[in-house]
């Protein structure tokens, strides 16, 4: 068996990151560095109104007073924030009117990623707001959505077309004072998606955005804002791949979700950014603030994430359950290999009565990676009859990796029922032997067992994503047999 192991290790060591390529398109990059002038320049280039510039400057001034957080179980090399260019936009000539007008190079990139726009339009019925670097290039199915009154566009467009909505909700869930990276994002965010679902509307299709970091050494500061009005429903997908780079790239996004009475939002992520090579060189830093506000009664927010990429992940999609009877869910699979580090989890803040939350987190660590779950369940004094169930399992592949669990439970109400369970284990030799006996190679057996282990979460993903996620799991873990 050990010979087998070595073979796999060598094979994977030789395998290259599948999505590592760069596209040569003219990009409009502003000089490196961060200052009030840079922020004014970004704001000016995007033609933003005065209030937004003020918002950015306020956030920037606050950011200057903050220090990089160091409480996570991560080893983050110092980041020089002056050595990053804060704005990169593919050069547009009057903007594409149809698919033919889109830069063919760009289309090729998407094709390589396996998301041909036309095919997706035709076959999967998905509306794709493809974000390449920072400016939305092409939005599909927009007209169809418009008919129902659904707004799905880039956030810069939303600032121009629907300023009242953006102004009302921007920063209402994640304030610029929230944390270091949230302040940075609020100051320099360049683009992202905006979704508004009007009252009583069920969004007929899955909304999807593909993020891709393209221009070298440009941080990407996405800002996503989703507002679901009373009795509405939307399922939103976010998938990420990034080309191969040597220097680490910073990604500090904010996702804000505002859920009104009886509305439901489902937010799914498959994150597969470049994790660095087998020696831990390069890779994306993924420092993301994601939070949903279940303001309305009986509202529901569900986070599902499959995290396989990034050199360092710092991410805690959270739910503030303010409305009575609201429901928060968090399903996560986090895979780390080689020198990857992940500190991820969720926060469930129960403020309303009869609120419920479920947390299912599955960590898989291999190679020399460190994988941590960090979560908070807080039950406020006035939140009666709260129910929470958390389960955090870790699977270790190899004896040089680490799996950690840091759950926090702050209970201030006697009617709450809160449970937390966690286990850590490795794939047993018996299981592998059983598969071997039946003619399944050790590597396939690992894939089989890992997929079974993560099934509970993968099942929560929309169909298209589930297939991709399953493949990703296999690719990420190839050769990490422990």
């Amino acid at each position: 068996m050990s010979e087998d192991k070595n073979k796999f290790v060598k094979k994977v060591a030789a395998s290259e990151y599948k999505y590592g390529f760069t596209t040569d398109i003219e990009t409009d990059v502003i000089p490196k560095g961060l200052s009030e002038d840079v922020i004014r320049m970004i704001s000016e280039r995007k033609g933003e109104p005065e209030w937004l510039l003020e918002f950015r400057l306020k956030a920037y001034r606050h950011w200057l007073t903050l220090e990089m957080p160091d409480w996570a179980h991560l080893n983050i090399p110092p980041i020089d924030f002056q050595d990053i260019s804060y704005y990169a936009a593919p050069v547009k000539k009057d903007g594409p009117k149809s698919l033919d007008d889109v830069d063919p190079e760009l289309i090729k990139t998407f094709n390589k990623l396996g998301i041909p726009l036309e095919e997706q339009m035709a076959l999967s019925g998905m509306a794709v707001d493809a974000v390449m670097d920072s400016v939305s290039v092409k939005t599909t199915f927009k007209e169809n959505l418009m008919e129902k009154g659904i707004i799905f566009c880039s956030i810069s467009e939303a600032v121009r077309e629907h300023p009242d909505l953006v102004r009302k909700y921007l920063g209402s869930v994640v304030s610029y004072t929230d944390n270091f990276y949230a302040a940075l994002n609020s100051a320099v965010f360049t683009d992202g998606s905006f979704v508004y679902i009007p009252k009583g509307v069920k969004c007929p299709m899955e909304l999807s955005t593909y993020f891709r970091i393209n221009a070298a050494e440009t941080g990407q500061f996405e800002r996503t804002l989703i507002v679901a009005d009373d009795d509405s429903y939307v399922s939103y997908l976010e998938g990420c791949t990034a080309p191969m780079r040597d220097t680490n790239q910073l990604h500090a996004a904010i996702v804000e979700i505002y859920v009104h009475d009886r509305a439901e939002v489902k937010y799914s992520t498959v994150q597969n950014w470049y994790p660095g090579d087998k020696d831990g060189k390069g890779g994306i830093y993924n420092f993301v603030t994601k939070r949903g506000m279940c303001k309305g009664v009986s509202s529901k927010l569900s986070w599902t994430q499959v995290e396989t990429g990034s050199a360092i992940t710092w991410k805690y999609p959270s739910c503030v359950l303010a409305g009575d009877n609201s429901v928060g869910e968090f399903y996560s699979v986090a895979v780390t290999n080689n020198y990857q580090q992940a500190d991820t989890g969720t926060k469930m803040i129960h403020l309303g009565k009869n609120t419920r939350s479920t947390i299912i987190s599955k960590g898989i660590s291999a190679g020399k990676s460190q994988n941590s779950y960090r979560g908070l369940v807080r039950v406020a004094e006035k939140a009666d009859n709260v129910r929470n169930y958390s389960q955090c399992d870790s699977l270790l592949l190899g004896d040089k990796c680490g799996a950690h669990t840091f759950p926090y439970m702050d209970i201030h109400n006697d009617t709450a029922v809160v449970e937390h369970e966690a286990t850590t284990s490795k794939i047993s030799e018996d299981q592998i032997f059983y598969c071997n006996q039946r003619g399944i190679s050790t590597e396939d057996a690992i894939g089989l067992i890992v997929n079974g282990y993560a099934k509970e979460v993968l099942n929560k993903l929309p169909m298209e994503f589930a297939v991709e996620a399953q493949k990703l799991l296999q690719v990420s873990l190839e050769g990490s047999v422990g």
């Binding site: 004094e381 669990t405 209970i411």
Partner: protein, 449 residues
């Protein structure tokens, strides 16, 4: 005020350093200045520190407490006054009054040859090389303000030494009594050294007389030699006038078996930190605790178990019952180092909140760097099962009786892990009394009549 918490002690130390040293032993004094320098550097731990997140230690030290630096002995014979022993077991009984080890007039208990059970100060004078080898080695003053403070101010404590291959049949019972006319602070130290194949049991009871306010810091260092067995029980029955801050460090050699059981029946504010290092193969630790708190009592148990070698086992079980406006906190961390393969570790924390105003914080943490391990942890916060209460009511029990029975059953799981039958029975009774609101009315105790 809180800003100056440290200052009053820094001034005091500078003024009274010679006095403190004169009433202590050279071995204990040898660490004092370094500890004081560390204390000046780090101060009392604030709430910003992750380890001390749930208890505001700084403000505990803000009031003006008296310290008995002159070591004026108390004018009572505790053997006559206090009889709060556990019935049906003959224990070797010792007392610590405030922070002074009470030297009995006649020798109590027949200790086997070589066993030392005495005042730490006396031990440091009689056996300096032995005490020096172990004193202050586990409780580092570098980055813990409480250790630094205690090491700088401590003058005496308890020393237990069990040589190789000696089995101490009779449990040792140590009663800490806080008793003073004015507000009083006590800084105690416990040092336990067990040789190879040695066995011992130690029961520590904490009492505080009514009247004045008390604050005690206690730093315990326990070394369990190869293949030794040690049981360490701590039972706190103090009052709302008492603050107890206690750090316990355990280092276990190969194949040793240690049980640490902390019971908090009544208290004021309590913060217990237990740090266990499994420093040899096949070592086993059971770390259990019960807290039954009400009114505005505060209990914070913070534990850390480090598995350094393979094939070690750790079991952790903490149960809390919180009533009225009580605050409970539990933070348990289990770290499994890279070489600690075949580790088995289980951690459970279950809590009952009986009122809306009671608060519970729990933080069960796992940090695992080895792959061939079986580790699990679980935590729950909830209430009594309504169906169970209803079932009992149907059968003619009053609601109160039904709830008492259920709570009793809830904490019994921990009591049952005690490896001393008479103490188990005694605790069954004490816990039940506690839930019936009749605690500390032990029939045989003169103190609480």
């Amino acid at each position: 005020m809180s800003l100056n918490s440290e200052k009053q002690y820094i001034d005091l130390y500078q003024e009274a350093r010679d006095l403190i040293c004169r009433h202590s032993a050279p071995v204990i004094n040898s660490l004092r200045d370094k500890a004081f320098a560390d204390f000046c550097r780090i101060g009392f731990p604030g709430k910003k520190l992750e380890k001390y997140k749930y208890t505001d230690i700084k403000s505990c030290f803000a009031p003006d407490y008296g310290l008995n630096l002159n070591r004026v002995p108390m004018q009572v014979d505790p053997y006559k006054t206090f009889k709060c022993d556990v019935p049906n077991i003959s224990t070797s009984l010792f007392f610590v009054l405030n922070d002074i080890f009470y030297v009995p007039e006649k020798k109590t208990g027949n200790m086997p040859d070589g066993v030392l059970m005495m005042s730490l100060k006396e031990a440091a004078e009689l056996h300096p090389e032995l005490v020096e080898k172990y004193y202050g080695k586990l409780a580092s003053t570098e980055n813990d303000g409480i250790n630094a403070f205690n090491t700088a101010f401590v003058q005496d404590g308890v020393f237990l030494y069990v040589p190789d291959n000696v089995v101490l049949e009779k449990p040792i019972q140590l009663i800490n009594i806080m008793n003073a006319k004015m507000d009083m602070m006590a800084n105690r130290r416990i040092l336990v050294v067990l040789g190879k194949n040695a066995q011992a049991k130690m029961l520590i009871c904490d009492h505080a007389e009514l009247g004045a306010k008390y604050l005690s810091t206690q730093v315990a260092e326990i070394y369990a030699g190869e293949n030794s067995v040690f049981d360490y029980y701590e039972l706190e029955e103090t009052g709302s006038n008492n603050v107890r801050i206690c750090n316990t460090y355990v280092e276990q050699s190969a194949s040793s078996n240690v049980l640490v059981n902390g019971v908090t029946l009544t208290n004021g504010l309590t913060r217990n930190h237990v740090n266990v290092v499994l420093n040899g193969e096949n070592a086993e630790i059971a770390l259990n605790g019960i807290a039954t708190v009400d009114k505005n009592q505060h209990i914070d148990n913070n534990t850390n178990i480090e598995h350094r070698y393979s094939r070690c086992t750790s079991n952790e079980l903490f149960k809390y019952v919180l009533d009225d406006e009580a605050v409970g906190a539990f933070a348990g961390r289990v770290k499994v180092c890279q070489d600690a393969q075949k580790t088995v570790s289980q951690q459970t924390n279950k809590n009952l909140c009986l009122t809306r105003e009671s608060h519970m914080y729990t933080q069960p943490q796992l940090e695992i760097y080895a792959d061939d391990v079986k580790c699990s942890h679980g935590a729950t916060v909830g209430q009594l099962d309504e169906n169970a209460v209803f079932y009992m009511q149907q059968r003619g029990l009053s609601k109160k009786e039904a709830m008492t029975l259920l709570m009793f059953a809830f904490v019994n799981e921990v009591v049952d892990s005690i490896r001393m039958e008479p103490l188990k029975d005694r605790l069954h009774m004490l816990v039940e009394k506690r839930f019936r609101g009749e605690l500390s009315k032990c029939s045989s105790c003169a103190k609480c009549k």
